[in-house]
Amino acid sequence: MLWVDKYRPKTLDRVIVHEEVAQNLKKLAAEQDCPHLLFHGPSGSGKKTLIMALLREMFGPSADKVKVENQTWKVDAGTRNIDVELTTLASSHHVEMNPADAGFQDRYVVQEVIKEMAKNRPIDTKGKKGFKVLVLNEVDKLSREAQHSLRRTMEKYSASCHLILCCNSSSKVTEAVRSRCLNVRISAPTDNEIVKVLEFIGKKEGLNLPAGFALRLAEKSNRSLRRAILLFETCRVQQYPFSSNQAIPAMDWEEYVMEIASDIMKEQSPKRLFQVRGKLYELLTNCIPAEIILKRLLYELLKKLDSELKHEVSYWAAYYEHRMRLGQKSIFHLEAFVAKFMSIYKGFLIATFG
């Protein structure tokens, strides 16, 4: 088992990073009437860990007994029936899913699932009707329609079903949904907090951690706790005992993006654009999301760029990132960005060096 999973705190009491939030959540769970929750914050800050711990706090250890199911919903969409397949994770008290995986059928999933849960409400020992918790991940990736239908079902079935929503950026969740939830912001852990966690793991594993090394890992991780722990484990495999100036490897796809960036800087031509397209395809086939590719690519390009071009390039990156969200096939927009960059950069080179 990876360290990330192994040292994930199981209860709210054992949380190291967001202690304050954890205590508040504990109070919330103690009061029976828990509102809908919306956790938002950057990736690797501990949202999921807190949610899991909260569920355990609410329902006791039985919340850990989950099973994975590939469920198929038959949705009656007026003129035709659609089968929607989705992986769910369910205990007797909660169901967790990524509705955004259903693509453009997400709205039906949200509606159907909530209705179904409302239909068979669990009955607790006192014969009182209890409630179930539905954990929805990546709410920000849901389509607008799905979010709207989420809003309606949220109101209608609020007695039988409590929602815990989880997303990276709350700005992509509609106002209506946000206002019906208690928003919990989970900020990215600071370097010191990360160091604390790394030292904790190091102690548990019985490792000797040199002074500056944990801090370097924390800096390298870009304030993502998950990333830091993964890097830590990787370094442990690569070289132990640690030395404080040990090389910390980058993710392979990041290296690949770096390669693409230098390709772009070296030559600007339709032919090179075509080669770049091939490399982008390779990243995409390996499930690296297009938004992340674009972001990383911009980051790599800006590093090497003359400062007077930075503004324009960032503008176009934002422009095509927006396009990508509106559009269907991300490669069209990724490529348009690369083409625009090449065009700008070539013009710049000609203007400067003639």
Binding site: A77, N137, R226, Q238, C287, I288, R323, G327, F332, A336
Partner: protein, 604 residues
Amino acid sequence: MGMGKRNTIYLVSSSDDEEKAEFSLKSQPKASSLPRISNPKKRAKKAPLSNSCSRPRRQSEFNDFAEIKRFCQEFDEGIRGFKVSTGHGMSTNLWVDKYKPNCLEELAVHKKKVEEVKALLEERFITSEQRFNNNVILFSGPTGVGKSATIYALASHFKATICEWNTPTPTIWQEHLHNSSSGLRYTSKLDEFETFVDKIRKYGCISSSASGGSRVILLIDDLPIINGKVAYGRLRRCLHLLVQSVTVPTVILFNDYGNTEATEYSMRYWEELQLFLQESGACKVAFNPITTNSLKKTLLRISREEQCEVSAEELELIAKASGGDIRHAITSLQYYFLRPNEASFLSFTNSTPPRLNQSQDEITHLSNGHLLPFGRDDTLSLFHALGKFLHNKRDSEKSMASDSDPFILKENFRRLPLKMDAPELILRQAYGQSRPVADFLHENVLDFISEEAMDDAWIVASYLSDADFLLASLSGKLSRNYEAENVVQSAAASVAVRGVLFGNSHLAPSRWHSIRRPKLWQVEQSLWHNKSRMVSQRHEAYCGMNLVDPSVIATEFQPTMKWIGYRAPVDHNGEKASPDCMDLDENVLANENCITSEDEIEDW
């Protein structure tokens, strides 16, 4: 051109009806009152040639409504009761039959093609005594390019008799009922063809008694329609036997229906059949559509003989509209002079004779096919259309039109006029769907942009991005508004195509390009595959404690696991497989590319 296998039909209706009438009478009902069952009698055909001597005056054609009426009645009767009295005896009014070429000089087919066929036949005539082992010649080509006319003309040149497999009349249901009650078995066309081939093999063409010792050409024009594997197998076997054993020169005609219909299931059988026949020793002659020039020549000859006034432009119009189909062109010509309100049409094209420029404009306008009462519905294959867009042919000099343009564009927005129809029109002809068109353009356009023109590449890419945005804007809404979606879709296609045409202002020097199939489709498939595999691996590894965003798995867990050399507990080579898998996908891609590159287009 009409080969005499068609009845004489008096034309009174629109061109559509005319087509239908021609079609429904393609297999000629014979002048016999008895329902025919199976007598695929070989019969030398000479009758139609004699028709040309009686040419009625034009006046009578126009005015004799009584005759038309009578004919219509007869026609109806003929269909209903299979008693057709109209036949070879009657004088033909169809110009197609009237002006069918009698000698080699009158053929509109290209001289070289005729020579080629002539040489082939000669060779076979000479060696027919020594059992030349491939006596079969395949003619293939679109309809109305003079395949059969060539063979008839050559036959008369060689003084040979044509022995034709006479397509039996189709059995209609009533007839079938009648037959079955009288104990006669139903025989399909294929059955009859088999019997015919059998007879040919056993007895040769002796039964065409008229031809004594002279030369004989066996002509098989109308192969039985086949559907299904069984029927195909039978026909194939049958033709194979024919190719192997026939001792007289044999010509088999195949109609090419163009690429657009090639996707149809039964069409593939015909292609396969042709290939098979070639393999078993037949030699193939491909006929191309007749050029506009020779069409014009023929039309001019006919109109002169008919003493009809017609301008060169109008002839050109008709010739162009017919798409290389001479039969169609001649019918169109006749129809053109048949119009009762002939004056109005003529005035329409000729209203502005003094200003030559404008009248030419009008003609090009007409030739778009909307206003023309005739003309073939010429469809394009998707690849042809894509080729047009990608090659982006433009006139070399600025036209005068740009001066009169009310909008003065900046220099960098100006483009030379396109050497093609409006892109939307081409798209419609190709029945191009927006999404595939955009994907194909995206995949291929970079090849066509000059190496220097990075700005162009960006403009093209940005327009394609716009098109994708439009395509996405309404997709996935299940409570959809089809009307709106159609509009958006066609707008997207238009943006994609026009963006490519506009953006690519510095064309790469033209060379042979192959059009690749979009790699994107493959990428999407393997993306889904990889994603589900990755997620399930993660579940197994972590006993499914919680769901993780696939993107997080891809960007963080996956690379880490690779370093650590982690193996999933169940799937032992899971991690190892992923890079291999990717390579494999790429191989598949490469293969795909090889395959699709057969759909190459020439630089036209």
